[in-house]
Subunit: 336 residues, 2 copies
Amino acid sequence: MSRRWHTLALAGALTLVLVVGCSSATSNTSKSSGKLTEVRSGNFATIVAAPENPDNPTTPEKVELGKMLFFDPRLSGSGAISCASCHNLALGGTDRLQFSRGHDFQETGRNAPTVLNAAFFQNQFWDGRAQGLEEQAGGPIQAPGEMNMPADKAVERIKSIQGYHEYFKKAFPNEEDPITFENITKAIAAFERTLITPNDALDRYLRGDKNALSPQAIRGMETFDSIGCTSCHAGPALSSGAMMKFDYGTDLGKASWTGNPQDEKFFRVQTLRNVSLTGPYFHDGSAETLEEAVTTMARVQLGVTLTDQQRDDIVAFLKSLVGEMPDISVPVLPPN
Amino acid sequence: MSRRWHTLALAGALTLVLVVGCSSATSNTSKSSGKLTEVRSGNFATIVAAPENPDNPTTPEKVELGKMLFFDPRLSGSGAISCASCHNLALGGTDRLQFSRGHDFQETGRNAPTVLNAAFFQNQFWDGRAQGLEEQAGGPIQAPGEMNMPADKAVERIKSIQGYHEYFKKAFPNEEDPITFENITKAIAAFERTLITPNDALDRYLRGDKNALSPQAIRGMETFDSIGCTSCHAGPALSSGAMMKFDYGTDLGKASWTGNPQDEKFFRVQTLRNVSLTGPYFHDGSAETLEEAVTTMARVQLGVTLTDQQRDDIVAFLKSLVGEMPDISVPVLPPN
């Protein structure tokens, strides 16, 4: 029960909650979802719903199909790897490995970012080489070191599974020939827009439950804000979603695909929601613990050497960011 | 809705159903589960509940823990492979590959049997080298070509995940030190006993709904029975669970671990429930379609050359064996 997002109960509760603040935080989220009202306080804001893509409106039929495709290993060349293999919803939407295992057990070059709340971002992948969830979804399917399935083969494979035809017709009702690679990625993206984790302790605190955060977590939140973490990690996803320089390690980040020296070591700012579930940390998965990650970020990004107390306080705050996981039942996929 | 097993509704409906037959079929299932009554007719019987193991009584706490472990890739050496990788509940409890991909993307030597209704069997693995689900569960975890995790390392890994401790305490309340390899396999087995698929068209037919099977499927069922398929494929799981000779291919079957020439090419009789979801077929995954599998089995096992009509009728019957899938929500696993 506690894992489900009780929309009605929440909506009822929210009528009693006032918007306690409205900052100039640069998050790219919408400010209300129709049902729930976003609560903002300074640089912090509750999670309400993922922003929609007007070019790919979410429908229940698209979400249902997208969930099936997300779980279907037949979208990979080997038939053994699905989106859910590395974006494991049992493990906070990631795989908890330093590097994921793709086709032929090859290690990927970067740590798998969580799919939870990924819908808040326009810049996708660590290096921002895709814009929006739709474009992102097509990447790992085709990457030879990940799912290793060329787009035309993916379409051919899905078309060969008769049971999928009706689901595509329902998800894309006005299209003559709806099984296309574009629609595969649209459906997956629509499903991913449902993978948000509202109502963590920070959100309950922002909605007025002042006991939701421990005194240590509140101190951590204040330190997090005052030393400048919130200059990037703000808003509902606790991330601006922007590309920011992180001069750490040898990975060239955005420059690896633009070739532009000015983009060197620019990475997409990650969400901190559920961060205690999604280690190890950084693009190279080199930080095993939150303590290590927090210390490094403060030093490299802000030039701040944290005291042990400050570090532990911030970690306590970060551990309060585990929201209600989406309740995902394993789909029953159509046979070959 | 249709995927859930509405116990109460079913129990209500069953008060109206008479037991229409009681054969001498040699299935090793219990004849009633307390809640539901098994209906038998000749060699056929409905699925009610998996037989219990008195040494490992099923409890909700054990099932919950077992589900977590079943989905947890940290039980593998690489951290990337879980029980659910090859026994994918989205794909009928198997992976629909000829051979599964284990550690280092190695291909296994035999086709992955479905975990659905596996609880009906004492003989486990194609070659019967394990007895019961508990012993089976320990095999792939440790096999170097599958999950590649020695038992002691598995225990160490699970112990290192603090969040698991309370779940083991609840599942094994009378034990001082409950995180053991034996208990890991007991919990997984308890979860697997819930993975049964009642109420397929055959079961509804046996319970009195004479329209549940098409005329062609009824003809197929009659042919299936009259030519002798039911000498092995009978009872709730449509399998006696016995080791039987299948002189096909080069795999030595049971003799591969007993070394006894009399065991050569003996394999465990597979369940036919959900068989249209679990191809390709046979221990070597060499039969891609049900048509091919049925034709081969009739010829090799029964010396019968089926007409096209007989073959198609039997396939229609086999396609009626897709039951209600267990409604499995993806568990939320504790962080490292």
